[in-house]
């Protein structure tokens, strides 16, 4: 094959590739948009996708499920959980049994969302929710207290600043 012929063939091949590329661009340009419009539009999250903030649960009678055993803290590979147990007041128990968690904190600057704490929990007191809006403006804010964790997480998108995309 002469050099001439070789150049001609290369030209044809290159042109074909360019056209193929352009075709892809053209096709994609008119395809429906896949971008999640978060935070303007909040997508549906599968019901059982527990991948977000923790929650401390209560029994139906209002008593806390947490017994302050610290197994979650022990299981935590990131050392994000702080638990301080205390004896229940037999007259006004906080949880069933002898012990309850006097203090319970999770530091979301450390938490890696691995869920080992939930697996470790012997009373199902600690579960994960699907709330993922955990952006904070100070270190203190990133440490959630027991009171905060006992409450259900807010609706997604209602976190201050979320709508604005801050």
């Amino acid at each position: 094959m002469t050099d001439e012929q070789r150049r001609e063939r290369n030209f044809l091949a290159d042109t074909g590739a360019v056209l193929k590329g352009m075709a892809t661009v053209f096709k994609q340009t008119f395809r429906p948009d896949d971008t999640e419009e978060y935070p303007k539009v909040i997508a549906e999250i599968p019901e059982r996708a527990h991948t977000g903030r923790h929650r401390l649960n209560r029994h139906d009678n209002g008593l806390e499920k947490c017994i302050g055993c610290e197994l979650c803290a022990f299981a935590c590979p990131a050392d994000a959980i702080w638990v301080e147990g205390e004896d229940n007041d037999p007259e006004h128990p906080t949880s069933p049994g002898e012990r309850y968690a006097k203090d319970y904190q999770i530091n979301y600057l450390r938490c890696i969302m691995c869920g080992l704490c939930v697996e470790a929990c012997p009373t199902r007191a600690l579960t994960l929710t699907s709330y993922f809006e955990m952006a904070y403006t100070s270190r203190e804010d990133a440490i959630l207290t027991k009171e905060q964790l006992l409450e259900p997480p807010p609706e997604l998108g209602t976190t201050p600043g979320a709508k604005e995309g801050l």
Partner: protein, 799 residues
């Protein structure tokens, strides 16, 4: 004997249990009731093995090995594994599932073995057994019956080891339970051991109850700071604070036991009274840097005469540095760690004498004379060893003015305080009749005969020597036992007015040996002892008084002299964990690190050096004592010659290497019975185990469980003469002072003597003393309205 376990051969002595033989092979057989220091029980039935040729499975904790035996464990026999699984299912039937909050959860033999050998699931559908819980057995120990697997370790410990038979199994069948007699308190100074050997969380320590989860803890190996027993312990910290002491197994020292003081008096390093900054007196005591304080002290030392007093609780390294600091920098022999006569002129021989008696010797002895020692109250683990020796058939004789807790296993020869030396002395070549049979037995026992001399003898300048002679005449062993954790280390290091390191005297070739390491010494042959130092201080013959881990107002048997000394010395330098009662007097304070914050060694009463690990960093600016001494030497323009522990050890090694010792010949004045005037009684005192000492600070549960309020013990005959009734208040008068105390009329104390505890809350016995731990006293009844200020009626002492 050679046998095979799981096909592996092992040779063990006859009488070894199969489970022990398996341990030697590294084969684990699960067990609960088995404990190497308790007699076999065969109660939990967990340790089944198959012995070839026997139709039934056997429990390996009860069957001794036989030659040629072939044993299969759960690893090689399915039926054994099946039986163990079934047994764990039985054990777990009634065991609550509260592991997540149980103190034992995470370090629980039942939990671990259920995981390793148990069934995964329970087939139990019925309701579990329920008990009221927790049941307080004492302010220190609480019982959670639901968790109990009835292995009887605790009851067997009480029966076989401590002899304080408080715990017993009650009722039978599934209703069987560990209990204590109604209204009784588990008032044993060894109660905490039952918690440690409990294989589940049934017995819990009140001070540790819910204090931490096992996985929260950081820990390190240390040695108990309380007495000279030298128990090996593990210090557990939670977030930097001490939450627990556990005994470590050390069969040469403490077996697996701790006394309750060692176990529960652990809060003093974290006490709110602790001072961790150097202080210097300006207007008041002001915080300052080490540099400032050391420079000031150097200035005082430079211009003045120095005296150094210390207690017996520092480490070997600290004492060595102090000994060198005093001799080479302060150029004085005025330093002392004692508060009595010590062993008198036997001290040199003891200091350089190594380990003539070990715990092992005690355990294997045939005859033991315990003279002047209340072992349970002063060195509790030695007390357990003495009981172990008695259990093995040793004859134990106690020569003591007050009956000790060895009463059920030993013969007691009561004597008046101070008369021990007289009793031990031969009269015209013959032993006195009271002691004759012991002397004979000692002679027959040879080196299986031991004489243990305790602190009561140290109150008399010749008594320890008499005890030593008594032992050597019979060819037996001799040990001098002091109370504080490192009295021996201080003595060996030469924190002593006339002994240099390793028992060397400060004259002749002995001194030359020390000078070859330390350089020429510009010191007199003999310094002042503690009493001389205090007197010199009171007479303004000393300008700077160093108080290293000692509180003269509380520690010496002459409160008035100590106060005069503190008031008259121009400069007082305190180096300790805290100031406490010295806050008024201290001119400079140097913060020392607590035992768990430093690395080094302490020496037991045997003479055994044991290593302490640094479990945590020193709090605040506090530093190990030897470091402070080294810095002070530099500030004074001297140099101790070591900056690191390694350098210090190297130098210590050359001076403290084993050497032949000499018995110093000193003019002997003979040991006469202690003279007392007509109508007078002889008051004596020593500290009880649980007292108001500084190392028991914060140990409230311990004190609630075991501390006695102040009292005076009077023999019934003397009480009758004086018209004193048991439980009534009595005024005790001595030449030094007087005190009103509730009387305990009891035959536990010898006739003609009075006993008061040395340092109980609310009463400092040294206000009644004049330089010795015994003194002539009179008693008068105090007429108080019957219903006012009710006092506890005690039936008798520590027993």
């Amino acid at each position: 004997m050679t046998l095979a376990i799981d096909g592996k051969e092992v040779t063990v002595p006859a009488g070894t249990l199969i489970i022990r033989a398996a341990e030697q092979l590294g084969i684990e057989i699960p067990r609960f009731c088995d404990h190497p220091l308790l007699r076999p029980a065969g109660a939990c039935r967990q340790c089944y093995v198959r012995i070839e040729g026997q139709p039934k499975l056997a429990t390996s904790c009860t069957v001794p090995v036989a030659a040629g035996m072939s044993v299969q464990t759960q690893a090689s026999d399915d039926e054994v594994a099946d039986a163990q699984r079934a047994n764990l299912e039985f054990l777990l039937l009634n065991h609550p599932l509260d592991c997540p909050i149980c103190d034992r959860g995470g370090e629980c033999p039942l939990q671990d073995q259920a995981l390793a050998y148990g069934p995964g699931d329970s087939r139990f559908r019925e309701a579990k057994r329920v008990f009221k819980k927790p049941i307080p057995l004492s302010p220190l120990v609480a019982l959670d019956r639901e968790r109990c697997v009835l292995c009887a370790r605790c009851t067997r410990f009480c029966d076989e080891i401590s002899g304080d038979r408080f715990l017993e199994l009650y009722a039978r069948g599934a209703g069987e339970r560990v209990a204590i007699a109604a209204g009784e308190d588990f008032r044993s100074p060894f109660s905490g051991n039952t918690v440690q050997i409990c294989p589940v969380g049934a017995l819990t320590s009140v001070p540790y109850r819910f204090a931490a989860r096992p996985f929260d803890l950081t820990y390190g190996d240390s040695v108990c700071p309380h007495c000279s027993a030298g128990c090996n312990l593990r210090v557990d910290l939670r977030r930097g604070d001490v939450v627990r002491h556990l005994a470590r197994d050390e069969y040469e020292v403490n077996d697996a036991w701790l006394c309750d003081k060692g176990r529960y008096a652990f809060r003093f390093p974290d006490s709110s009274e602790r001072v961790t900054t150097p202080l210097i007196r300006d207007h008041g005591l002001e915080p300052a840097s080490f540099g400032e304080v050391l420079t000031s002290i150097a200035g005082w030392v430079d211009r003045g005469r120095v005296g150094v007093l210390t207690g017996g609780r520092l480490m070997d390294e600290d004492y060595y540095a102090l000994s060198k600091l005093a001799r080479t920098v302060f150029r004085t022999n005025d330093l002392d760690h004692r508060r009595d006569h010590g062993a008198g002129f036997v001290e040199g021989a003891i200091a350089g004498g190594g380990m003539p008696v070990t715990y092992r010797n005690v355990e294997e002895a045939k005859v033991i004379l315990v003279a002047g020692l209340d072992a349970e109250q002063e060195v509790p683990i030695l007390h357990l060893r003495l009981r172990k020796a008695a259990e093995r058939g040793a004859r134990i004789v106690v020569l003591h003015p007050r009956r000790t807790r060895l009463w059920d296993v030993a013969e007691h020869i009561p004597c008046r305080p101070g008369d021990e030396a007289w009793l031990l002395e031969k009269e015209e070549g013959r032993h006195r009749p009271e002691i004759e049979s012991v002397a004979t037995a000692m002679r027959e026992a040879g080196d299986a005969g031991i004489v243990i001399a305790g602190p009561r003898l140290a109150d008399h300048p010749q008594a320890v020597d008499r005890a030593r002679t008594f032992a050597s005449d019979a060819g037996g062993r001799f040990a001098y036992v002091t109370r504080r954790a490192n009295d021996r280390g201080a003595l060996v290091a030469g924190v002593h007015p006339w002994l240099l390191p390793n028992g060397r005297s400060s004259i002749d070739e002995d001194r030359a040996e020390v000078e070859s390491v330390w350089g020429p010494l510009d010191i007199p042959d003999r310094g002042r002892d503690w009493r001389g130092i205090l007197e010199a201080a009171a007479n303004r013959e000393i300008d700077v008084l160093f108080l290293i881990g000692v509180d003269p107002l509380r520690d010496y048997p002459d409160a008035a002299l100590a106060r005069r000394a503190l008031e008259n010395v121009p400069r007082k330098v305190v180096q300790s964990l805290e100031l406490a009662s010295l806050a008024r007097y201290a001119d400079a304070f140097l913060p020392a690190a607590a035992f768990l914050e430093k690395e080094g060694h302490v020496t037991t009463w045997e003479g055994r050096g044991q290593r302490l690990q640094r479990v945590r960093d020193p709090l605040g600016m506090s530093r190990p004592d030897w470091e402070i001494f080294a810095s002070l030497a530099l500030a004074c323009g001297g140099d101790l010659g070591f900056e690191t522990l390694d350098e210090l050890h190297e130098e210590m090694g050359t001076l403290l290497a084993p050497r032949a010792t000499r018995h110093l010949a000193v003019a002997d004045t003979g040991a006469a019975p202690t003279p007392v005037e007509d109508g007078e009684l002889l008051l004596f005192t020593y500290p009880l185990l649980v007292n108001d000492g500084r190392l028991s600070e914060g140990a409230d549960e311990l004190k609630a469980a075991l501390a006695d309020p102040p009292f005076v013990e009077i023999h019934p005959n003397n009480a009758g003469t004086a018209g004193v009734a048991d439980g009534s208040d009595v005024r005790v008068t001595t030449a030094a002072g007087e005190a009103t105390l509730p009387a305990r009329v009891t035959e536990h104390v010898s006739e003609g003597s009075l006993f008061v505890p040395f340092d109980q809350a609310g009463f400092a016995a040294n206000t009644l003393l004049q330089g010795r731990f015994s003194i002539a006293a009179t008693i008068d009844p105090v007429d108080a309205p019957a219903d006012e200020d009710p006092v506890e009626v005690g039936a008798g002492g520590a027993a």
